[in-house]
C-alpha cells in the first residue's frame, strides 16, 4: 500500500532530482573537497554551487551560508555562538513554543546560570509585541524566535521583531526550519543575523542543515577542528547531502510561488471538510497566518495516538500532540503554551502537506477519518452527551511549572 504521507513537517520524501544529483558523489566522485588534486577540487566546486543554491532560497550571499549536520545543530550553533561572542551578556530570549533544539538548549544555558526569558503566546499561538519589547535589555546576548511553528504552522512576525531587536543592537536568530521552502524568505529585508535551515524538511536527505550568518556578525564555531567552512564548522563535509540540499533549495524556490497557494487551497479544503463532518473538532492556531501546508485539528474526547494508529491501518501518516504519541508522558508543549484545554490537546492531529500531496489523497482522508473519530468516541467515557466524572480542566496542576 502506497502511504498517504501527510507528515511533511516531520520529514519529507527526497525529491527524485535531488537523489539523482547526489548519486555521483557516492559512486565515483568521492574526493575530499579539501584536497589539492583535481579529483577533490571538482567536489569543492560542486559544494560551492550548492552553497549558492541555498543562499538563493533566502536571498543571502553564498559566503553567509555554513553547512551543518541538521537543523538542531544550526540552532545550537547560533545560541552557542552568541553567548561565546558576548560573554558579558547573561540573558537569552526565546519563546515557549520553540523546537526542542532551541528550548532545551535555552534550558541548558539556564542551568549554566543564564537568565532565560521564555515568551508566552496567546490562545492562537501569537506573541505579544509589547511583552517582547519589554523583555529586551542591555544584558540580552541573543533573541531566538522561530519563523513558523512546526506543530500549528503559526508564523511569527520575524521582520518586525528583528527590527525591534536590531534597534537595541541585540543579535537575532530565527529557526526557519519549517518556513524554508514554504514561505518566501529574504534576509536582505529581514533584520535577522542568523537563520537555521534543515535539508530533510524540503525534500533533501536527512543529516544536512545550514546556518545563515549575516556578514559582519560575530561568530564562534560550535564544532571545533579543521578549517572546513572557513573555520566556521569543522569536519569533512557531508558532500552528497550538501549537494542534495543545494538541489532541493533550487527546486523549492522554483515551486514556491505556485505551491504555496495550491497547498493552502488543499489544506483549507481538508480542514473545512473534517471540521464540518466531525462534531467537536477545532482548528488550533492563528488560521489567517499559518504555513500553507499545515493544519492542526483537535478532535475532542478522543486520544491522538488511537486516531493515528487507526489512520495507519489505511496507510495515512500524520502526527499528534497527545502525550501517548510524543514518546514521553507529556502532551505537546506548544498546545499547552496556547492554553488549549487538555480534552483538545490529547486529540490533536497535525496534517502537513508537501508538493507531492494530491487532492485525491486528501479526499481519502476526508472519507475515512470521520468514521474513525466516531468509533473512538463511542469507545470513550467522555463526550458532549456523557456525564464526565471529572471536569476537563483547562490547566493541569503541575505541567507548566518549569518554564
Amino acid at each position: 500500500m502506497k502511504p498517504i504521507y501527510l507528515d511533511n513537517n516531520a520529514t519529507t520524501a527526497v525529491a527524485p532530482e535531488v537523489l539523482e544529483a547526489m548519486l555521483p558523489y557516492y559512486r565515483d566522485l568521492y574526493g575530499n573537497p579539501s584536497s589539492m588534486h583535481t579529483f577533490g577540487g571538482q567536489v569543492h566546486r560542486k559544494i560551492e554551487e550548492a552553497r549558492a543554491q541555498v543562499a538563493a532560497l533566502i536571498n543571502a550571499e553564498p559566503e553567509e551560508i555554513v553547512f551543518t549536520s541538521c537543523g538542531s545543530e544550526s540552532d545550537n550553533t547560533a545560541l552557542m555562538s552568541a553567548v561565546e561572542s558576548f560573554p558579558h551578556k547573561r540573558h537569552v530570549i526565546t519563546t515557549r513554543v520553540e523546537h526542542p533544539a532551541i528550548l532545551n538548549f535555552a534550558r541548558f544555558l539556564s542551568r549554566k546560570g543564564y537568565r532565560v526569558t521564555f515568551l508566552p503566546v496567546d490562545s492562537a499561538g501569537r506573541l505579544d509585541r509589547d511583552v517582547f519589547l519589554k523583555s529586551l535589555d542591555d544584558d540580552t546576548a541573543i533573541v531566538s524566535i522561530m519563523f513558523a511553528n512546526n506543530e500549528t504552522g503559526v508564523i511569527f512576525p520575524i521582520s518586525e521583531l528583528g527590527e525591534l531587536a536590531r534597534e537595541k543592537g541585540i543579535l537575532f536568530h530565527t529557526d526557519a526550519v519549517q518556513a524554508g521552502g514554504k514561505l518566501p524568505l529574504d534576509v536582505k529585508k529581514l533584520a535577522v543575523d542568523m537563520l537555521s535551515l534543515s535539508g530533510h524538511k524540503l525534500h533533501a536527505p536527512k543529516g544536512v542543515g545550514a546556518l545563515y550568518i549575516r556578514k559582519g556578525t560575530r561568530f564562534h564555531p560550535y564544532i571545533i577542528g579543521g578549517h572546513q567552512e572557513h573555520g566556521r564548522r569543522a569536519g569533512t563535509e557531508n558532500v552528497a547531502s550538501i549537494i542534495g540540499m543545494g538541489k532541493a533549495c533550487e527546486l523549492a524556490l522554483g515551486h514556491l510561488a505556485t505551491e504555496a497557494s495550491r497547498l493552502a487551497g488543499l489544506r483549507d479544503g481538508l480542514e473545512q471538510a473534517l471540521v464540518a463532518s466531525c462534531p467537536d473538532a477545532r482548528v488550533n492556531g492563528d488560521i489567517g497566518n499559518r504555513l500553507p501546508n499545515t493544519t492542526n485539528i483537535s478532535f475532542e474526547f478522543v486520544e491522538g495516538e488511537a486516531i493515528l494508529l487507526r489512520l495507519n491501518e489505511f496507510g495515512v501518516c500524520a502526527s499528534s500532540g497527545s502525550a501517548c504519541a510524543s514518546g514521553s508522558l507529556e502532551p505537546s508543549h506548544v498546545l499547552r503554551a496556547m492554553g488549549i484545554p487538555f480534552t483538545a490537546i490529547h486529540g490533536s492531529i497535525r496534517f502537513s502537506l508537501s508538493r507531492f500531496t494530491t487532492e485525491s489523497e486528501l479526499n481519502r482522508v476526508i472519507e475515512i477519518l470521520p468514521p474513525i473519530i466516531n468509533e473512538l468516541r463511542q469507545l470513550s467515557p467522555y463526550g458532549r452527551d456523557k456525564i464526565m466524572r471529572k471536569a476537563p480542566g483547562d490547566v493541569a496542576a503541575g505541567f507548566d511549572k518549569r518554564s
Binding site: 486520544e303 494508529l309 508522558l329 507529556e330 469507545l379 470513550s380 476537563p392 505541567f399
Partner: protein
C-alpha cells in the same frame, strides 16, 4: 512508533465488550482526561453466586489503553468477584503478549478500574483513592498508589515507577520524592518479609506445564471415554489443540474445549485460551 504486539493491535482495532452496561451492579472509574487516559468499567454480577456475568468498558486513551481495558473484561467475565480480584496488571500485559515498558501504566489502569468496580460493588471506598499525599502533581498520583504498585510489581527504580504509574513523567519535580519512597519501601521490614515478587513465567516453563497438564490431567480422562486430543501448538497464551478418536465431530466439543481451558487456567496461567485447530 510503539512496538505493539499483534495481540495489542488486534484488541485495539477490534475491541471486545465495549460500551456501558445499563443498571450495572458495579462501576469502576479511574484516570482522567487531563492525564490522557481514563477507563470506565461496568459489571453485571450475579448476587447469589458472586459471578461476573457481563463486563463492558469505555476508554479514553491510546491503543494499549484500549487493548488493556478490553482484555481486562475478557479475563474477568465468568469469574467470581474473588477470582477476578486475582487478575493482576501483569496478567493483562501477559495476555497481550507484553506491552512496551513505557505503556505498563495502561495495564495498571485496568487493574485499578477492576479494584474500583469491586469496591463499588461491595460498598467500600476505592482502594486507589483512599487518603494519601499527592506526590506527582502532573498526574495526581498519591504516595499510596506508588507504594502499592511498586510492591505489587517489584519496582525499584523511578523509571519503573513512571512506566507503571506515570508518576514523575511530567515536570519531574517529584522524582527525588519518588526516590525517597522507593528507598523507604525496600528497606522497610514489610518489604523484607514480602516474598520476592514471582518472576513472570518463561515460555519454556509455560509450555512444559501445559504439556504436563494435558498429559496427566486431560488426556487420560478423554481417553477413558474413547476420545483424545493432540496438542498442536502454543502461541503466546493460545493453546491450539486438535481432536482425536471419538472426540472428532463430537457435539460436546465446545464444552470439552471449555473444560480444558478452565483446567489450564487453574493450573498454569489465568489467561490461557484454548482453541481447536
Amino acid at each position: 512508533m510503539w512496538d505493539y504486539t499483534e495481540k495489542v493491535k488486534d484488541f485495539f482495532l477490534h475491541p471486545k465488550n465495549t460500551g456501558e452496561i445499563q443498571n450495572p451492579d458495579a462501576v469502576g472509574e479511574v484516570g482522567s482526561i487531563i492525564c490522557g487516559d481514563a477507563l470506565k468499567l461496568t459489571l453485571k454480577i450475579d448476587k447469589t453466586t458472586g459471578r461476573i456475568t457481563d463486563a463492558k468498558f469505555q476508554t479514553f486513551g491510546c491503543a494499549s489503553a484500549i487493548a488493556s481495558s478490553s482484555v481486562l473484561t475478557e479475563l474477568i467475565k465468568g469469574k467470581t468477584v474473588d477470582e477476578a480480584l486475582r487478575v493482576t496488571n501483569q496478567d493483562i500485559a501477559d495476555f497481550l503478549g507484553g506491552l512496551p515498558k513505557e505503556k505498563m501504566h495502561c495495564s495498571v489502569m485496568g487493574r485499578e478500574a477492576l479494584e474500583a468496580a469491586i469496591a463499588n460493588y461491595r460498598g467500600e471506598k476505592k482502594p486507589v483513592e483512599v487518603e494519601g499525599k499527592v506526590i506527582c502533581k502532573c498526574f495526581e498520583v498519591t504516595e499510596e498508589k506508588i507504594r502499592k504498585v511498586a510492591l505489587e510489581n517489584h519496582l525499584t527504580t523511578v523509571e519503573d515507577v513512571t512506566n507503571f504509574t506515570k508518576a514523575g513523567g511530567g515536570c519531574g519535580s517529584c522524582v527525588p520524592e519518588i526516590e525517597t519512597i522507593l528507598k523507604d519501601l525496600w528497606s522497610s521490614p514489610q518489604a523484607q518479609e514480602m516474598p520476592q515478587a514471582p518472576k513472570p513465567m518463561t515460555n519454556l516453563r509455560k509450555i512444559a506445564l501445559i504439556q504436563d497438564v494435558l498429559e496427566q490431567e486431560i488426556r487420560p480422562r478423554l481417553q477413558a471415554d474413547g476420545g483424545d486430543i493432540e496438542l498442536k501448538d502454543i502461541v503466546g497464551n493460545r493453546v491450539i489443540v486438535s481432536f482425536r478418536a471419538l472426540c472428532v465431530g463430537c457435539p460436546m466439543g465446545d464444552i470439552t474445549i471449555q473444560g480444558i481451558q478452565e483446567k489450564l487456567r487453574e493450573l498454569v496461567s489465568s489467561n490461557i485460551v484454548v482453541e481447536e485447530e
